[in-house]
Symmetry: C2
Subunit: 307 residues, 2 copies
């Protein structure tokens, strides 16, 4: 229950950042991809095996720098069931390396369907009298457009299995304004969603003071981060949009509380694809990823001190 | 492009309904589940094989009654990669039987991630110079909370591959009011979402007059169906909430236009689990499903004539 586990890992590594694992086929160093297409042809199986090798290599390189990784389900789904098999293995490998795993799935559905999603990603699936863990991540991202029916089944698994979830509030992308910034009385739609998140999480706060239900708030809106940090004082933030999308260390500092807690900042491509900028065709992808992750940690350290 | 393919299948079978394939393990007739757990133990593999057999049996029973099936991703994800493998096979089998396949995934993400989802579910994944189809459904459901960034990559695949998508507008569940019914100026949030759906779909209308981007509007809100049918005249509706959730044939008639077109009504459990009410322990699951599907078709026929 709550974000205590994540917060303690952040503190131990003095690094409030999470590395996204979003491997499109073209992000994989060519020597890895070739190895597998050489054996299995240009197939989904080859791509899935290449992604698995790449992601596990990244995990090895980053395991003592970052507290968490965030595999994005879409990049595994696009490789079919072989991709989903790779995702199961990536999650297990990251946990073995003592990393906190946020499955970026942004699911949102109701009733028994939401329960099924929660069993898939946080809980266990019951087959006869046997409880089978499935993807078994530590945390997921969710979409709350359908309201509390889409959230509560996950909260149940969070509470009973010491896990947590982030619900989209204000996202980092340009078109987030189209729905999220609509004026609704004295609030905007994203503020209303934020209020709902804080309300639904009531009673699940851990030692760190944060409830089991966090919110996604983009780095590209520093004034929103400031406003929501103040308004949602029990809600842990996942902050995407750092780097490529324009968010800076100066921007994301507003996501943290006065003790430097309560938020984690994501970077995906800047770490994963760092090898594309060193001119070595990916031979140094691990070193390049590690250097990029350390750089990001140090940039944020300029503005945020974790007490 | 557009909903022409679906509308023509609806017309051919004189039946504007879609059968949901939402098989939780406990919905599978015991004799099917036992066959597979006997061979593979109480494992995800056994459950996935049982779901595959059950879903294909339902498809056989329903193929000349309903125009479409709607597998719900959650119930396959909860069985891990074996479940996703079963889902690939269920989709392929339904298409072989000339059924229109709506993958109920409710995905919503941005940029390259939305593109990856679209490649997974509607398009193809490129591995080197080879284009690999993945789940390859005819249609998907989407969540538009993140705005057009989450929709446009799918529209691109819809246009180039003659497919379509439904975006959540007003859902059938009780807590849909929490966000969707918030007053926003002279609209509600779901009306704003509906307007966005109609706007984004511009330029993709087919012969039937409906654009490639449809909307999900629940059967449990007949007045909303009426209002949105009038307001969103180029938007095809997927209508969940019939039966178990309380929506009736008299309610859903408002989803259709004056030619009896422009909507499809979903039923899942009432068809899939019809065997639970006949006292035969599932031996007659196909016949029971078929009878339930025919009953639903005939109920709606009382109110809707497809021209």
């Amino acid at each position: 229950m709550s974000f205590d586990v994540l917060q303690s890992k952040i503190k131990a590594k003095r690094n409030p950042t999470v590395a996204g694992l979003d491997a499109r086929v073209e992000y994989i160093p060519p020597f890895i991809l070739k190895k597998h297409t050489g054996k299995h042809g240009e197939t989904l199986e080859a791509a899935a095996r290449a992604v698995l090798e790449f992601d596990c290599g990244l995990i090895d390189a980053l395991a003592d720098v970052v507290p968490a990784v965030k595999p994005q389900s879409a990049y595994f789904e696009m490789l079919g069931w072989q991709g989903m098999k790779a995702l199961e293995e990536v999650i297990a490998y990251a946990k073995e390396k003592d990393l906190f795993v946020i499955a970026d799935i942004k699911r949102g559905d109701i009733g028994t369907t939401a329960a099924a999603y929660s069993e898939a990603w946080l809980g266990v699936t019951q087959v006869g009298s046997t409880a089978c863990p499935v993807f078994d991540a530590d945390c997921v991202t969710l979409n709350g457009y359908m309201g509390s029916d889409a959230i509560n089944p996950f909260l149940k698994d969070c509470t009973s299995r010491d896990k947590c979830a982030f619900v989209l509030a204000k996202t980092s992308n340009p078109s987030s304004v189209e729905l999220q910034d609509i004026v609704a009385g004295d609030r905007l739609v994203y503020t209303a969603m934020g209020d709902l998140i804080q309300r639904l999480g009531q009673g699940t706060a851990g030692k760190c003071g944060y409830q089991a239900l966090g919110a996604v708030v983009g780095a590209t809106h520093p004034s929103v981060l400031k406003e929501l940090r103040y308004r949602l004082d029990k809600v842990f933030f996942l902050v995407p949009g750092y780097g490529a999308q324009g968010g800076t260390a100066a921007d994301v500092r507003f996501a943290f509380d006065e003790l430097g807690r309560g938020a984690i900042v994501n970077a995906s491509r800047s770490i994963m694809c760092a090898w594309q900028k060193t001119g070595k065709d990916g031979a140094d992808y691990q070193e390049a990823a590690r250097t990029a992750a350390e750089k990001m940690r140090d940039e944020i350290k300029e503005y945020v001190t974790i007490l």
